[in-house]
């Protein structure tokens, strides 16, 4: 009985906080837009039987008819993939440096990585607007150095979105890689060198393979939220930045089209299920390997 209770707790948690909201969203996605409160029909007030009878998939069909949606999904995938890769390129050297730093420095460096979380995410994105705008800090600095003659247009482009995503999700990349590198026995690299590797070869043949799990975990932790990201593209991106999170927001708040917005959300979730399942399998494999 107690064992059952223990297992029940996470399941109840999942049921209440994930499955029930998902079912509600899914139900709305099967409804039609209506001028009422709530802004869709049918509802429970029409009776359960009538409600089920009125459900249809026309919102999903609509998503395939308007090319805005699949273009937004594809564009989101591309932006998420590229920014995940860029975050890895920036994050790995930082994690490596942290793992190789003297012991007394590590706590401080770790603190510096986590420190940005102490400020609101929104404020930090606004700060980037201040840095990247035409009259912003970056352009002012480059003009002052004489490297450029007129300000670079960065804000409201995809580049600004990449910068925003890389900046925001960098700690999620650094921490798992650091954890993997930190556990790495230094004598493994020495052994590789002893057996004829140069430093660089030892890095590719020993360090990278042995931090693979950290790289995978960090990449998923960046990719999954980046795919559905909406604040960064709407604040830093321009009219040309097409991301599904932004579309979802607009459907929901600008068009007040809850059924289509819900359909967009359901499809996004289905797309996300694939990397989430892959991530879970990686975590499980890692746990098994450590036993």
């Amino acid at each position: 009985m107690r064992r059952f209770a223990l297992i029940a707790v996470p399941y109840v948690w999942l049921l209440a906080l994930f499955l029930v909201p998902f079912i509600i969203v899914f139900k709305i996605s099967l409804s039609d837009l209506a001028l009422s409160i709530p802004p869709y029909t049918p509802t429970m007030r029409d009776g359960i039987g009538d409600m089920f009878a009125a459900f249809d998939f026309e919102n999903f069909v609509f998503l395939t008819e308007d090319d805005l949606y699949w273009k937004a999904y594809l564009s989101s995938l591309r932006i998420a993939l590229i920014s995940t890769f860029m975050t890895l390129l920036v994050g790995y050297p930082i994690a490596y440096g942290m793992a190789k730093a003297p012991d007394e420095w590590r706590a401080t460096l770790m603190m510096l990585v986590i420190l940005p979380f102490w400020t609101s995410f929104l404020i930090r994105v606004y700060a980037w607007m201040g840095i990247l705008s035409n009259e912003g800090l970056l352009n002012q600095f480059l003009l002052w150095l004489g490297l450029i003659n007129e300000p670079l247009v960065i804000l409201n482009t995809n580049l600004a979105v990449y910068i925003g995503i890389i900046y925001t999700y960098l700690p999620f990349m650094i921490l798992p890689i650091y954890a993997a590198l930190d556990r790495l026995d230094e004598s493994l690299n020495e052994a590789a060198e002893d057996l004829g590797c140069s430093r660089m070869q030892a890095f590719w043949l020993v360090t990278i393979p042995l931090s693979k799990n950290g790289i995978i975990a960090g990449s998923f932790l960046v990719f999954i939220p980046a795919l559905g990201e909406f604040v960064i593209p709407s604040l830093l991106g321009g009219s040309g930045t097409l991301m599904i999170g932004k579309i979802l927001w607009e459907e929901f708040f600008n068009n007040r089209d809850w059924p289509v917005a819900s359909a967009v959300a359901v499809v996004l979730l289905l797309i996300l299920v694939i990397p989430i399942v892959l991530f879970q399998r990686n975590q499980q494999k890692q746990a098994e390997a450590e036993q």
């Binding site: 004598s187 590789a192 002893d194 057996l195 043949l205 393979p209």
Partner: protein, 375 residues
């Protein structure tokens, strides 16, 4: 049939494989190796023995190339290797932690070094199979390091470090992680492999028994200096200092003042009111010089009656008996309060019962049983 004794260190025409010339290594203010000079010859099984922090690991890491030399030079086959990086040295190392690559199979671990040499596939295959056979690991080639036992991991580490046929193999506490029984078996295995491959081995250990068992010569180190280099038998029977005598095996040290009584013979006054001890030595002591007599417990006889033939006989009282099965060690307290250990082999099945706690006994030894040391 004459058998040639393997002793290249006694042959002035032999060129050493490794030569440390006045090597000093500092870490900041700390002197890890202090003006050390040493020759190691080809095909030797050389043991660096000492307590932790004595510099033995630093010496090994300098040979492998992981540490640079602060002063002096290290030669390998007559060439200075001070600035050769580890991957360019014909030296391989077996790490204390084994440092097996956890993401590679046993086979790939052993092939790792060969692949770096861009050897052909058939050459690599043949060499890895040879190494697996040498270390009796044929069945485990496909396994990952975490899927085999500690003893097997140790053999993989050995096979991997031998695969490139190095001129010199360094072993850093190679048996430290094994339990006692396995360690003893592995010691003999190591000696066999060393002999069959003809590789020069340098082993670092803090275990004196291990060093004595495997090595052709042992260097006893302390605080960055080599105190004595000799064969295991010589280091045991002719230690050059109290430090070495005490570090290797069990020993009784009697402090005394020496008085010459004849050629190479000295009378040792070790305590007032007791007859002096007679000892023979080739070292010259002046009258009244401080000396330390080091005698191994097994060289001391213990009896209930005063023996007639012994050069030295002292009466004492049994304080403790340590029964070790094959041996018994008696702790005998002398009139001055000093405790002397005497050891007898339990050759008879029933342990000698005529000596027990608190018994008055005689301990005796010959004039040549002990070593008279200056310091």
């Amino acid at each position: 049939m004459t058998q040639t004794v393997f002793a290249p260190w006694d042959d002035p025409n032999q060129k050493p494989l490794i030569r440390f010339q006045n090597v000093t290594k500092r870490f900041g203010e700390f002197v890890a190796i202090d003006d050390l000079t040493l020759d190691i010859f080809e095909k030797e099984f050389f043991a660096l023995l000492g307590p932790s922090g004595c510099g033995k690991t630093t010496m090994m890491r300098m040979l492998a190339g992981f540490e640079t030399v602060s002063e002096g030079r290290i030669e390998l086959s007559g060439k200075d290797i001070g600035h050769v990086p580890p991957n360019k040295r014909a030296v391989n190392m077996m790490f204390q932690s084994y440092a097996l690559f956890p993401h590679l199979s046993v086979w790939d671990n052993i092939a790792f070094g060969l692949r770096r040499d861009r050897k052909s596939k058939s050459e690599i295959d043949a060499r890895v199979d040879e190494m697996l056979k040498l270390t009796r690991l044929e069945k485990f080639g496909r396994r990952k390091p975490h899927q085999i036992s500690g003893g097997q991991r140790q053999r993989v580490a050995l096979a991997r470090s031998l695969a490139k046929a190095p001129k010199l193999l360094l072993l850093d506490e190679p048996l430290g992680a094994l339990d006692k029984k396995l360690r003893q078996d592995t010691q003999f295995e190591l000696m066999d492999i060393q002999e069959s491959t003809g590789t020069t081995f340098v082993i670092v250990t803090h275990d004196q028994e291990e060093a004595m068992t495997v090595a052709s010569r042992v260097a006893v180190m302390d605080e960055g200096r080599i105190i004595q280099v000799a064969t295991p038998a010589n280091i045991y029977e002719y230690p050059n200092s109290v430090y070495v005598a005490d570090f290797i095996g069990d020993v009784n040290i009697i402090d005394a003042t020496a008085t010459p009584t004849g050629e190479n013979t000295y009378a040792l006054n070790w305590i007032d009111g007791q007859p002096p001890i007679t000892a023979e030595t080739k070292t010259t002591f002046s009258a009244g010089q401080q000396a330390h007599l080091a005698i191994r417990p097994e060289k001391i006889r213990i009896s209930t009656e005063r023996p007639d033939d012994a050069a030295n006989a002292l009466q004492g009282k049994v304080l403790d008996i340590a029964y070790l099965g094959n041996l018994s060690t008696y702790h005998v307290q002398l009139p001055g309060g000093q405790v002397i250990k005497a050891q007898t082999a339990n050759t008879r099945r029933i342990a000698r019962r005529d000596i027990t706690w608190e018994d008055p006994v005689w301990i005796s030894w010959s004039a040549t049983a002990g070593v008279l040391l200056e310091h």
